[in-house]
């Protein structure tokens, strides 16, 4: 399933990220990459999804969150 479909409070592991190299490396350098565990803080179905990963809160644009494959733990 996609990151955009997760509900508030759900924790998941990232399986794959479908992004160009620049964006991929940007996300990776912020700690969002394959195998990282993330928890959804805010997701209202519209607008950015806010996630937490290892104590860092990050907002991702909706479009981006629909390109990240996750697996709920």
């Amino acid at each position: 399933m996609f990151l955009s479909e997760l509900k508030i409070g759900q924790t998941a592991t990232i399986k794959a990220m479908n992004a160009c190299v620049t964006i991929y490396n940007r996300l990776a350098s912020m700690g969002i990459s394959e195998n990282s565990k993330i928890t959804v803080i805010q997701n209202s179905g519209r607008g950015p999804v806010i996630i937490e990963s290892d104590g860092r809160k990050i907002a991702l644009g909706r479009g981006m969150s629909m390109k990240i494959n996750v697996e709920v733990v």
Binding site: A16, M17, C20, V21, T22, I23, Y24, N25, R26, L27, A28, S29, M30, G31, S33, E34, N35, S36, I41, Q42, S44, R46, G47, P48, I50, D54, G55, R56, K57, I58, A59, L60, G61, R62, G63, M64
Partner: protein, 679 residues
């Protein structure tokens, strides 16, 4: 005296600037990196026989050149070769911060880690054994609290020690299979004899970075591609950059496990609780508007009385200086100073309090952590116009003054988005245009409709800015994919010191840049408004106002107005209107004073207001057309200069100047013709 060149680097929000500011104090110099709008801060600390030159690199997450900040930092390290990097690391978030540290080490620069905010980390139950950490990662590590200046002495001593006794930069131990690929690429790079820092460049290829391929011959590039293909097939992955990323995180995990202890479960912090409200779908927008409203109150309610005080000071100054000449003196120097420079430059400088309060408010938003929340809240609306949430604050500031608004667009990382934002900011009605609207509206519009029309003007401007932004992003400023990715730092109480410093650093630019251009334009306008002088025979038969009228018609400005008259005819204007619009290029509100001068001859006796006089000459559709022209036409000279400075080119301000005037002209003429049909 020996000079040590030290770069201060780290992720955003780790207290890097606090460390830099408290170390260097007022001994700093703020400029820009060439070609980009990234602030370059330098400072000097003197200790014993050493001069430590500190350079505060922008906060970054990696060296992958995603943003101008990363590009600048990479360039700095490669080209300026600092003796040492002080890597500022947030102790509560060490596993995240180490990613950048590893990249520094890959570049083979000596790194000294400053573990910042250990007090906060310990409160959260995170304890770091810096000796173990240092051993694991192979670089010196010091603990401290930048805010309280804790650990500074040790830090500086260590800098000198490393300078005198250079340390080895450790090799990052990647897995054997990875090292194999790295060394294969390194071989090719080495043979080409074009590079330093071979290993780092080899790793860049494995990250998917193509920056170096342009220096290699086709054959070498093909070889490297083949190696990457081999990597892809042995690991069976399509997105091969993930391999090096995974290895780095694997390494970091090992380092952190050996050196950090966490003895408390993570609790919901105050920040988490605040975000529940500030970012909730129900409260987010009302809170955002409340915050913006507060800023406007501060900027204008506190700013305006202060700015009036400034203005009256300039009045006083003009009178005082005029006092050096005899009354009625025709001295040109007096006229230049009293009628030209002081009202012109003073007119702009009078806005200094508003501008500084504005920058102060932005600093509060940034330092408190709310700025990034605004970007998140507004993102879904702004993406429709091809912008992102980060454009909101600059655009809102545009309601106050376009100059700081254009400057505030720096916070937008993406080049295309930043350009689009800068290009449309002047559509948003600035404070200087208000006196013009008020003059025209109160003269031509019935009282009960005045408020609504004024609101309409402001909404129309904001709406136009979004439409034009959308258009630009579809055409001239397409640019690359740019999703919102933004960190939300914990909320924090800003320190007065950092607020004042930030405000001053940015406000200074306004004084320097806008001030010099305005000064030049003021002098030119004065010349145009004064020359050529007219010799009027039989002066005694005429009133002072009539003399003034004849004189002003004969000046360059008057003549240009006459030439431009046919251009303004189709919107119901005449040479006086043409003249006033022309003069308003210096500063928008000059429109009112120029009209005032041109209409002053109309019978002083019955003491009619300017508005009444205008009503006798122009029609209602014409007044609406003037308002629309004022709303959409090109911004003042100071904004032009700011756009030139921020885009670092003449192209964009000129496109803006021409484009906006064309749009404004079209709309104004259309409105005049249409309204004239009905009224």
């Amino acid at each position: 005296m020996k000079t040590i060149k030290v770069a201060v680097a780290g992720n955003p929000n780790v207290g890097k600037s606090t460390l830099f500011n408290l170390l260097t104090g007022i001994n700093q110099h703020v400029g820009n990196y060439p070609g980009v709008t990234v602030e370059k801060k330098e400072g000097i600390v003197k200790l014993d026989n050493y001069q430590i030159q500190l350079i505060d690199l922008p906060g970054i997450y990696s060296m992958n050149s995603f943003s101008p900040e990363e590009e600048v930092s990479r360039k700095f390290i490669v080209e300026e070769k600092p003796d040492l990097i002080i890597d500022v690391v947030d102790a509560s978030n060490i596993q995240k911060n180490l990613y950048l540290t590893l990249q520094f080490l890959e570049m083979k620069v000596p790194v000294l880690m400053f573990l910042n905010m250990v007090d906060v980390a310990e409160k959260k139950g995170i304890f770091i054994d810096e000796k173990k950490l240092s051993k694991e990662i192979g670089i010196p590590v010091l603990k401290g609290v930048a805010k309280k200046k804790k650990g500074f002495k040790e830090l500086l001593d260590k800098v000198i020690e490393i300078y005198e006794h250079p340390i080895d930069v450790p090799d990052i131990p990647y897995s054997q299979k990875m090292e194999k690929f790295v060394s294969e690429i390194s071989e090719i790079l080495k043979k080409s004899k074009k590079f330093h820092r071979i290993k780092w460049r080899a790793i860049r290829f494995l990250e998917g970075g193509k920056q170096d391929s342009k220096f290699l011959c086709d054959e070498d590039n093909k070889k490297i591609e083949a190696i990457i293909e081999k990597l892809k097939s042995t690991e069976n992955v399509e997105t091969y950059p993930m391999l090096i990323v995974q290895e780095r995180y694997h390494l970091i995990k090992r380092v952190v496990e050996k050196s950090c202890k966490r003895n408390k479960e993570k609790k919901a912090t105050l920040s988490d609780k605040l975000d529940k409200k500030f970012l909730s779908s129900f409260f987010a927008i009302p809170i955002f508007f409340l915050v913006m409203l507060t800023i406007f109150q501060i900027v204008f309610w506190i700013g305006n009385p202060l700015s009036e005080l400034f203005a009256s000071f300039f009045d006083f100054l003009a009178n005082f200086i005029a006092g050096f000449w005899q009354e009625g003196s025709q001295s040109l120097i007096k006229s230049l100073i009293v009628d030209g420079i002081i009202p012109g430059v003073g007119g702009v400088l009078a806005y200094t309090p508003n501008i500084f309060l504005m920058f102060f408010s932005i600093a509060v938003l940034e330092e408190s952590g709310y700025m990034s929340r605004i970007a998140v809240i507004m993102d879904k609306y702004m993406t429709k116009a091809g912008l992102s949430g980060k454009s909101v604050v600059p655009m809102m500031l545009g309601f106050g003054c376009s100059v700081p608004a254009v400057m505030a667009a720096r916070i937008i990382e993406n080049r295309w988005e930043r350009l689009a934002t800068i290009m449309v900011i002047p559509f948003i009605s600035c404070g200087a245009r208000l006196p013009i609207y008020i003059l025209l509206i109160s003269a031509f519009v019935p009282l009960s409709w005045q408020g609504a029309i004024l609101w309409g003007i402001y909404l129309l401007g904001a709406f136009a800015s979004l439409i034009v932004a959308w258009f630009l992003r579809k055409t001239m400023l397409k640019g690359e994919e740019n999703p919102l990715i933004i960190e939300l730092p914990d909320y924090a109480t800003p320190t007065m010191r950092s607020l004042v410093l930030l405000t001053w650093q940015r406000g200074k630019h306004f004084l320097e840049k806008a001030g010099t251009v305005i000064f030049a334009v003021t002098v030119i306008l004065w010349v145009f408004n004064t020359f050529p002088k007219t010799d009027i025979p039989n002066k005694t038969n005429l009133t002072q106002a009539q003399i003034q009228k004849i004189e002003s018609e004969n000046t360059v400005m008057g003549r240009i107005g006459k030439v431009l008259e046919p251009v303004f005819k189709p919107m119901g204007g005449d040479w006086k209107i043409a003249d006033s619009f022309l003069a308003s290029i210096a500063a928008k509100e000059v429109f009112v004073s120029q009209l005032g001068i041109l209409f002053s001859e109309e019978n002083n006796a019955d003491n009619k207001s300017l508005g009444t006089k205008l009503k006798q000459v122009y029609s209602f559709p014409a007044a609406i057309a003037f308002i629309l022209f004022m709303l959409f036409s090109s911004p003042c000279m100071a904004t032009f200069a700011a756009v030139k400075a921020e885009t670092n080119s003449w192209k964009w301000p000129i496109i803006q100047f021409i484009g906006m005037n064309l749009i404004a002209y079209g709309i104004a003429v259309f409105a005049f013709k249409t309204l004239s049909l009905f009224l």
